[in-house]
Amino acid sequence: MTLAAFTNARLLDPATGRDEIGTLIVGGGKIAAIGSHAKVPPSARLVDCTGLCLAPGLVDMRVALGEPGEEQRETILSASRSAAAGGITAFAMLPNTTPVIDDIAGLEFIARRAREAKLVKIFAYGAITRGAAGQQLAEMGLLAEAGAVGFTDGLSAVSDALVMRRALSYAKGFGRVIVQHPEEPSLAAGGQMNEGEIATRLGLSGIPRAAEIIMLERDLRLVELTGARYHAAHLSTAEGVELIREAKNRGLPVTCDVAPPYFALTEVDVGDYRTFAKLSPPLRTDNDRRAIIAGIADGTVDAIASDHAPQDQDAKRVPFASAVPGVVGLETLLPIALELYHKGAVGLLDLLARMTIGPAEILGLPLGRLAVGAAADLVIFDLDRPWVVDAGAFRSKSKNSPFDKRPVAGAVAMTVVDGRIVHQQS
């Protein structure tokens, strides 16, 4: 068995609170030993990690792809490369492909393509409803058997309260989480950005914050009714964070995630119709941004996901209202999140927890921890190394990043999946 020893690393494991300089030994794709006293076997290949952090590979619970159906935006292979470059060793993809992943054939296709790409671990959600159309339940039981890590209609909300109630009840029977895009569609209809002064000045239809709040409030009632596990994706408002905080205090089985744009940007970044700052839900105000950071810090926010949404030029180089929302995020997830650490807003282990053990637990995956016997999925990174985001250099097929040219600190040096190096900083 080939052994590899990552020596002199700052070992960071949010699951156990470990933060020490030491060695991690990998053998047979698994973690064989870990700690400051770990003995390096003479046969082991040494990887000197002096000055670098070693953490569980990032688990990204919200990634949209273009395959199948829109391969010009992103393929499973290009997303895998992009993820590996971003230190992400596992991600869960949304079912909003063409066709929608609402049956086991779709899941099997993804699994096969992921095996062929053989870079990072790719999991998939099944759709809650057929075609993600919000009407009839998809075959959740069969999808769960075939490996769906949860259910979501992804980019669209399940707006019908009865459908949502039944989806929650039904998914509960299979032990899977329901992930909602919390936005009341009738209130958000036609909206292009956050409702308010900037939208009014730009002459763009607004999406009121109430669209998120109303949907969350309704869903939380349905969670009380069903007792099912519920996850609110990409929260954008201060009230949304507060609702989840209160629900958790009441003991409801709810979790939530946020994406870097929502804690790094605001509606002001829409500027003069920058379509790269068009997201769904929309970027909100600085007050919301700060509330989201507070939620990350106090654990109300369980996960930070990239919310990777690759769009080609045709979808973005158009007038704002015609532009498709979404930004790429796999390669900026870690550095943008680390801004919160560098600013002193969130502790390093807490921050890493939101990108490792946090999402892994929501999805019921045995990932995101540095434990003996666990898969050797690792990210090795330089916590402080400054660099400037260059969207043109992304491995992703799409370059629609609002963070292009942004100076950041924290760079991935190496990404390891099952003991294999899948990315190495040149």
């Binding site: 009014t200 002459g203 209202a321 532009a323």
Partner: protein, 329 residues
Amino acid sequence: MNAASNSTAQTAEAFLPPGLVWPQRHLLGIEGLTAAEINAVLDLADIYVEQNRRPDKRSTELRGRTIMNLFFEDSTRTRTSFELAGKRLGADVLNMSVSTSSVKKGETLLDTAMTLNAMNPDFLVVRHAESGAPKLLADKVNCSVINAGDGTHEHPTQALLDALSIRRRKGRLEGLTVAICGDILHSRVARSNIHLLGVMGAQVRVVGPPTLIPSAIDRMGVDVFTDMDRGLKDVDIVMMLRLQNERMAGKFVPSLREYFRFHGLTAERLAVAKPDALIMHPGPMNRGVEIDSEVADDIGRSLILDQVEFGVAVRMACLRLLATTRGNA
């Protein structure tokens, strides 16, 4: 270049305040313009009003220049006004009407613009149904772009011609109280006027049903009224907006007759305004919907035909100033 065009070029520049160079390559909106810049346009437009009233209305200031009117949305009035403005300054004017119905809008927009740009126009005058479309073009082409109305964003030449109409009748803009009435939510005319009148020191009110008042509009420095009788009290100018028919019938307001009952401009309602209050409308009017014919046709009080006349002069002034900026006047 002959002597005549030389002297007019100097005339145009003389209306820029001392030390100020006309800074914009494009005219995409009123937001961001200073009072000095707006006055420069209006002062120059005053000269063109006189030119347009002469039997020989044509000068040669923009001789050899090419203006392309690129209208993705129908508008006879604005397009004609720009066409006349260009021709009266001696430019070549080309009208392009582009239908957006059959093709994907974005592709058409940039592709069309780049195609036209390759023919070396000096000006693209753009009207588009989507907010920000002229800005998108301005970033890509190397000529001057003039926004002739984009979505619900801005319609800068309309606000400038409105300002000229007011200034010529009232002698000033500063200190006047102007009520902009009706469908504020969907109105680019309202937004441009709010910016312009605010910069020029007028008091601006917006008056309309709550469903047609955009969120946070008060942050743009206006007072908001949903009761028309209160909104019109003691105002100097009543600026009516057109209500699009498709916004009636229950979506934003319950019905046409209900709208007219509460938000139509009638002689009685106008009585609460100042006795010498003037009435404006960007046209085309819906008589009996937002404005009563009796009021609209009162030549003592209605500026509606002035607005049309001065529109040509204001657009000449805009073209002329933008040409000065480009350094090859």
